[in-house]
Symmetry: D2
Subunit: 145 residues, 4 copies
């Protein structure tokens, strides 16, 4: 990643892997997982990445801090299918004063199927940009428990 | 319908038909529309049924009145497929002091594919049951414009 | 259940409970889980009910036998919210020559939120009604492993 | 766009605009359209872009030619809400021997809310890469009817 993080991240601790099983309604008439569903897999994995660091995202949201998605992208290399168990590796790859970026690799049995990226702004209930508070920064730089 | 309505309804004016085109993501790996999507078709059709009577459901919601779904059912006779144009006939079939019921028939080119029913309670923002206000009753007994 | 099963079922073994965590995209602008999502929770729970009896539903489907949903209903008593852990109790409540019925109770911490029912026909890849084969009947009457 | 198209495109005819109304189930607990839904809006708009050029995408699919999504991205500038009418401007921005790229701007009343991009490979039913046939190329370079 060429873009400098305002806050340095430790590559050894900034990743977690979350398992997701493909549901039947996530497939489409091509017999594979619909491309739009992968953004949901990324979101599930982000929420679990936080939980593994001691935080319920729902609590941040209830406290008026949201990590609004401002950019998202996916590269689809191989298809997933109904009932597949997918491992979503989530890495916090950039951490700045009021925004952050996660990158993702989705694998099935070790084979990379999809790569993804989401960029988030920290906003309050009114959607106004806010600095990440110290307590949030602590969580975000914490290794998985 | 044997159940008596508290407020009498005119069968000649209590129905409207709304066209919906099947989206690709609404199909599943059986090549047909996923059964769970039909509840969405019913919801779209309810919103348009109201619009045809001069009301944006979003305005009721913004004003603190919601028609919360308390019961829903579907009978699936034939499958719909990607790109099908479906006609959802919505009928207000029961209107009571604080609740109402819609029934639905989804057709493709005249052939009935699905029958549905939803029952709704009128609730405020806190989820508390509220009587349907006179202005709402007026809308609900109005013929399509 | 008054309707007689063609095949008798043992109430002691015909139920399983499956845990599902609510995803953020399953909520709607009322701040609660969208009513249409519950059919998905029922489907996930059915698939796990079968897995607990040694069968991947995907294998039945690949072998040309599908449990097509022919009827579904839900009664919504209380709302679920983002990140809630829900316990879906699935009971095979009727088993006939070519069809079956599941009933469901969704609970959060013991409190019943939703009740559901789905009725299924056994069909082949062409959608033609087929008798449940002996091996399928065995699985369906088997207790959870 | 710096990347050269193998087949030159006429900017005057390579765009179409498609209107989509936001459904209630497309919102989330933040009260806005869930970021994952925008990929669906792009898909709907692509299908209509083709229809405006005389082609049902379902016919291509039935004939064994699919425009599989191999990459997708979105930039979210402003939120959309329930019942909003969105105008999705779709532009075929790159056309190559076996792949193509669409770019998108989603607007509400003229204000740009979201920008998107999807890249597609032409594949057959087995997922094997195939050249775009002459008849497909004709359609893709055709102005809106």
């Amino acid at each position: 990643m060429a873009t400098p993080s305002l806050f340095p991240l430790d590559p050894a601790t900034s990743s977690s892997t979350v398992r997701v099983r493909v549901r039947f309604d996530e497939t489409d008439a091509m017999g594979i997982v619909h491309h739009g569903r992968y953004l949901i897999f990324l979101e599930i994995a982000r929420v679990e990445w936080l939980r593994k660091r001691g935080i319920r995202y729902a609590d941040w949201a209830a406290g008026g801090r949201h990590l609004a998605v401002v950019e998202a992208s996916c590269k689809y290399m191989q298809s997933a299918r109904f009932d597949d168990e997918l491992d979503v590796e989530v890495t916090l790859s950039e951490l700045r004063a009021a925004s952050l970026r996660f990158t993702y690799v989705i694998r099935r049995g070790g084979e990379a199927l999809t790569e993804g990226m989401t960029r988030h702004a920290c906003v309050d209930d009114a959607g106004k940009l806010r600095r990440l508070e110290e307590a949030m920064l602590d969580v975000l730089r914490r290794p998985e428990a």
